[in-house]
């Protein structure tokens, strides 16, 4: 069966945004992919509003303190309080950003930002640093990769995470230089160990002050001559980034990663090479690369539609876009993220979330299948994650755990869904066409559920109940995990 125009538009919306939303799901029959793409570009063209959780110098001082000398002056209680404040801040930032992914009209920007959030994976429990890094990413998400790379490399979050504060002339620390090349730009095999050492020397002196601002500490910098990727000079950090950007391998590496993320887990080498070529020639213009992908014909090939496993964030945001809802307890979203293996601002390591099949095991799949029901029917959720110390969204002491158990932790209440808004999407459909249309709106996978089988589970009391039960059942399928 040929892929319908609706499925194609939804394909673009799942990959370049966070899925169709109730408000405009009805209009996806007639608009063309090119028109939709133009809309996505247009709605993401404004500069993003900064998300501020920690503000002002005082917050910066307190939450930004990482300097050993400063830290030693603080009492254990103060340190604990600061870390707790930071964790709480990260929780708020997590919820704020997720809200943005669900409701913002700048869908393309937030989607690209989530991609970069996983690419420039950074795990520091410091709300101020993380807030600044996210702002850098959101401001450059659809702009120029070179500028994004430079700004991220100079962010306090990344310098801290990759130990460049400890990278000094007398005692170089190679971590930052190595990861910039291995994970952020060229990938393994395109530089030597010698290049890592020389780049690390060039990055000596790159650091940040107590306000979290980038500083170049000349007295810690090794100003001798370095040879990096065949070029020789008294290089500083910026020169290294310039040389890295001159490498075609960088364009290929980024293009391939984007292809995997936006198109298919198994990259088509020929397509990647063509895309990378244009990306390189455009001087790393991300808008060019995205357009090359999203308005190409092959992007809409069968093998690319409904064949990617949604990340936990994709899943949660996607449900909430089609089903507008008020959550009774916002913390439920954090619990889901944790149980499903993707907490914003807590990537597993600098390599980011591996994605694909690694999202799925018995526990995550069964929870995914139950989430629509948990959200819409107030079914109890009973998950008790083990304490994970530097991961926990708040310190989980034994006492707290016991107290929560007593209170009935895990029995979170669901959400109230605006079913009127949802029903409007299907308002004009005759009854016999209703289920096929709902199915086509909810699922992207070609192996779609059997409507005859499904029908016996649906609630026939009223049209609205029928629509409700159809959506919830369709969302509770393996197919719904795919986009």
């Amino acid at each position: 069966m040929p892929v319908s125009n609706r499925i194609k538009n939804q394909h673009l919306l799942w990959r370049a945004a966070f899925g169709p939303m109730a408000e405009n799901a009805a209009d996806l029959e007639n608009i063309s992919q090119k028109q939709l793409w133009k809309l996505l570009i247009k709605t993401s063209s404004k500069k993003p509003e900064k998300m501020v959780i920690a503000s002002g110098l005082f917050d910066g001082m307190m939450k930004g303190v990482q300097d050993v000398v400063q830290l030693q002056k603080l009492t254990a209680e103060q340190k604990k309080a600061i870390r707790q404040q930071s964790r709480d801040g990260l929780k708020s930032l997590n919820q704020r950003w997720l809200q943005e992914m669900i409701n913002s009209e700048a869908q393309l920007r937030e989607r690209m930002s989530l991609f970069w959030h996983g690419h420039f994976a950074c795990r520091v429990i410091n709300i101020y640093f993380q807030q600044e890094l996210l702002d850098i990413i959101r401001n450059n998400a659809t702009g120029n990769f070179g500028e994004l790379l430079r700004a991220v490399s100079k962010s306090s979050a990344m310098l801290q995470f990759l130990n460049n504060q400890q990278n000094r002339k007398q005692k170089p620390n190679e971590n930052f230089a190595r990861e910039v090349m291995e994970l952020f730009t060229m990938g393994r095999g395109n530089y030597s160990e010698k290049d890592v050492k020389e780049a690390a020397r060039a990055f000596t002196g790159w650091g940040f002050n107590l306000q979290g601002e980038f500083v170049f500490r000349k007295n810690q910098h090794d100003d001798g001559s370095k040879t990096f990727l065949g070029e020789t000079g008294n290089f500083e950090g910026d020169d290294i980034i310039d040389i890295i950007l001159k490498q075609k391998n960088t364009a290929v590496f980024i293009t391939k990663k984007m292809y995997r993320y936006f198109v298919n887990d198994n990259p088509n080498e020929e397509k990647v090479a063509l895309l990378a070529d244009r990306f390189f020639k455009s001087d790393y213009n991300l808008a060019t690369l995205m357009e090359d992908i999203f308005i190409s014909d092959w992007f809409y090939d069968d093998k690319n539609i409904g064949t990617k496993i949604k990340s936990p964030i994709d899943l949660l945001a996607g449900i909430r876009r089609l089903l507008p809802m008020e959550l009774e307890d916002d913390n439920m979203q954090l619990l889901f993220q944790r149980a499903l293996g993707q907490i914003l601002f807590y990537p597993p390591n600098v390599a980011g979330w591996p994605g694909g099949k690694s999202w799925i095991d018995s526990s995550t799949l069964m929870l995914r299948l139950r989430i629509p029901q948990i959200l819409t029917a107030n079914e109890a959720i009973n998950i008790n994650p083990k304490s994970d110390d530097d991961v926990m969204m708040g310190q989980m002491t034994e006492e707290k755990k016991a107290a929560q158990l007593k209170k009935g932790f895990g029995k979170m209440t669901g959400a109230s869904v605006d079913w009127d808004a949802v029903s409007k999407v299907f308002a004009k459909q005759p009854r016999e066409k209703l289920l096929p249309l709902i199915s086509e709106t909810v699922l992207q996978a070609s192996s779609r559920s059997n409507n005859a089988m499904l029908d016996k589970y649906l609630n026939n009391d009223s049209r609205e109940n029928y629509i409700k039960s159809a959506i919830v059942h369709l969302m509770s399928t393996p197919e719904y995990q795919l986009c």
Partner: protein, 397 residues
């Protein structure tokens, strides 16, 4: 109006999954029966970084007492096992196990260039990677890959938890996590899921993968639930988390389930403040649960087939901090418990407190050697393939 649960997912009959499974999913339905004598490993993870020096205590070492004026455990309070070594006073059952020749202690276990972040170091231990590598599969998961390529038996490695740890995730096979066999059965035994499965037409690879996982989960849930009921244990276990977890493990070990590896955790051992009470509480829970568990196994003549091992992502610093606790450190000790130990007691030298690295212990044994030993000598698996390297084997089993 909300959709009522029973309208949504009708609770299915007690018919087994196999009735509804399409043919291509049925490979799973022949669990290899394992005869008694099946060697089993039970891993106990101490989450948070357990303080090894107050666990296995160097009771005649002056540096230990000087470094920890407030936290050190005196020779009198420690449970003596040799002239120079005592156990934490809360580990009473461990002393009994030692006396019976069923306990071994390996000191100084760690890895080069140790990482002091909980998460990262736990990843390194669970994936058995080097500290500069990022690996997306765990050592037990890769054991599953090696054991059953082409088949799907997530019951070969089970974690007693709501969330599956990285340790049990392989490249192609994953272990299965559950807290309670009956609950797992209830939540997966939905007629709707079985009908979905029946209606699924294989074709697209990723969708098939999801259906295969679902099918494996449903039939495993069935299988585990049936097995767990076969031999309800008569032993009384403490009503703690770990007590309940080990009771579940025991009921399965005593059945003929094909599980080879069980994984449980206890925590949090992240004792920056108020260490004494926290560690005491956790060790009491540990000691009581392990006592019930080992007694149960002995009564049922399975103790020879079971190896328990404990680990933590790191030890703690030698010197106490100013808040009655200790901060993140490096190398640590591991316990091995079982009726089939070849070497018993303290296996190697206590940590050298004179020769430190920035105030932290240097490791003398790489933890990957422990894994290699357990995989090769206990589970009869190809450790080289699973760990991607040749390791020295230890002699305790």
């Amino acid at each position: 109006m909300l959709i009522k649960r029973k309208e949504f997912l009708q609770i299915g009959s007690l018919a087994t999954a196999s009735v509804f499974l399409p043919k291509f999913l049925k490979a799973f339905e022949k669990p290899a029966m394992v005869p008694p004598g099946n060697k089993v490993v039970v891993v106990i993870q101490f989450s948070g970084g357990n303080d090894g020096l107050n666990t296995v205590i160097p009771v005649t070492n002056d540096i230990y007492y000087k470094s920890r004026p407030r936290l050190a455990i005196t020779k009198e309070k420690a449970l003596a096992i040799t002239g120079d070594v005592g156990l934490n006073p809360a580990l009473t059952s461990f002393r009994e196990l030692f006396d019976d020749g069923n306990l071994a202690i390996l000191n100084g276990v760690g890895y080069p260039n140790p990482d002091r972040s909980h998460f990262r170091s736990m990843d390194i231990w669970q994936t058995a990677s080097n500290s500069n590598e990022y690996v997306n599969s765990g050592w037990i998961g890769r054991y599953l890959d090696a054991q059953c390529s082409g088949c799907d038996k997530p019951t070969q490695a089970l974690e007693i938890d709501d969330i599956l740890s990285l340790a049990l995730k392989g490249e192609n096979n994953n272990g299965l996590a559950f807290k309670d066999a009956a609950k797992l059965y209830r939540t997966s035994n939905e007629q709707y899921f079985r009908d979905l499965q029946k209606a699924h037409e294989p074709g697209e690879e990723t969708a098939d993968y999801l259906y295969k996982t679902m099918s494996g989960t449903l039939s495993s849930a069935d299988y585990i639930f049936q097995k767990s009921k076969l031999h309800p244990t008569s032993e009384i276990y403490p009503a703690t988390n770990l007590g309940k977890d080990l009771k579940t493990v025991a009921s399965l070990i005593l059945s003929d389930i094909n599980t080879r590896v069980y994984y449980v955790s206890l925590g949090s051992f992240d004792t920056h403040v108020n260490q004494e009470n926290q560690q005491k509480r956790l060790f009491t829970e540990l000691s009581d649960a392990v006592k019930a568990f080992t007694t149960d196994l002995k009564k049922n003549n399975r103790f020879e087939d079971v190896l328990m091992m404990t680990f933590s992502e790191f030890g703690r610093r030698v010197t106490q901090n100013a808040s009655g606790g200790t901060d993140h450190g490096t190398a640590n000790n591991m316990f091995f418990i079982g009726g089939g130990l070849k070497e018993k007691g303290v296996l190697n030298a206590m940590p050298d407190l004179q020769n430190l690295n920035d105030g932290d212990l240097k490791h003398s044994v790489d933890f990957k050697e422990v894994y290699a030993t357990v995989l090769n000598k206990w589970l009869g698996a190809d450790d080289k393939m699973i760990l991607g390297k040749t390791s020295n084997y230890l002699n305790f089993i």
